[in-house]
């Protein structure tokens, strides 16, 4: 079965600094990969997704992610973080009906 690892439980960055959240997946076939964001007390909002084609995908709120098959990674990046980006970020891989989530990375933004 597919699985996702997010190595960083908690990351703190200063506002305006760049951000990279790591995600590694395990899946035998071509993965369908997603990044979701969860603000406190809220549901999951889709940031971006990768199915095929261009390995650099653009999402909402200025986020992008790059699929690297050789590294089994799908890291999320943002060049300049805003205070409103503070949230929990989940990477997910889907196979058929079954979507598996990583444990999440909590992002704290310092003023």
């Amino acid at each position: 079965a597919q699985s996702v690892t997010q190595p960083d439980i908690h990351i703190t960055v200063s506002e305006g600094a760049s951000l990279e959240l790591r995600c590694n997946y395990s899946y035998g076939a071509t993965p369908y990969l997603f990044w979701y964001v969860q603000s406190p007390g809220q549901g999951l909002q889709l940031l971006l997704k990768y199915f095929s084609g261009d390995t650099l995908v653009q999402g909402i709120k200025g986020f992008e992610a790059e699929f690297k098959r050789s590294q089994s990674s799908f890291n999320l990046r943002k060049p300049s973080v805003h205070w409103s980006d503070a949230a929990e970020y989940f990477c997910a891989v889907a196979a058929g009906n079954d979507m598996r989530f990583g444990a999440g990375t909590r992002l704290t933004v310092k003023p």
Partner: protein, 114 residues
């Protein structure tokens, strides 16, 4: 923009009681899902539903859980006899199709079992 809705937003129940969590998926979607997130832990897949039957379920989805689409708009998750460890946030999601179709999540129902 269409969205998935869930009711109630918070449900408190006594251990051993039955609860029903309700979801209204996006209207043209055909696939429906339930996930749960125990406080501080990852989001876990429970079950997927298509064409009025379960298409996949996880090991968490045991006999105390059931799902139903009682009418054309609602999708429900029933927990027959709640346990303390059922306390979690339960998310409903829906998608138009499989694999390449994005799952859209509702805001969740926080279930507290006392």
């Amino acid at each position: 923009e269409p969205e998935v809705t869930q009711t109630p937003s918070h449900q408190v129940t006594q251990m051993g009681q039955e609860v029903i969590l309700r979801c209204v998926p996006i209207s043209n979607h055909l696939y429906f899902y339930w996930y749960r997130q125990i406080l501080g832990q990852k989001v876990e897949f429970l079950v997927s539903f298509y064409n009025n039957e379960i298409s996949e379920k996880s090991e968490i989805f045991d006999d105390q859980f059931s799902v139903e689409r009682p009418d054309g708009s609602n999708f429900t998750l029933k927990i027959r006899s709640t346990k303390l460890e059922d306390s979690a946030m339960y998310f409903c999601a829906s998608s138009e199709g499989l694999d390449t179709d994005t799952q859209y999540f509702g805001p969740g129902t926080r279930l507290t079992v006392l």
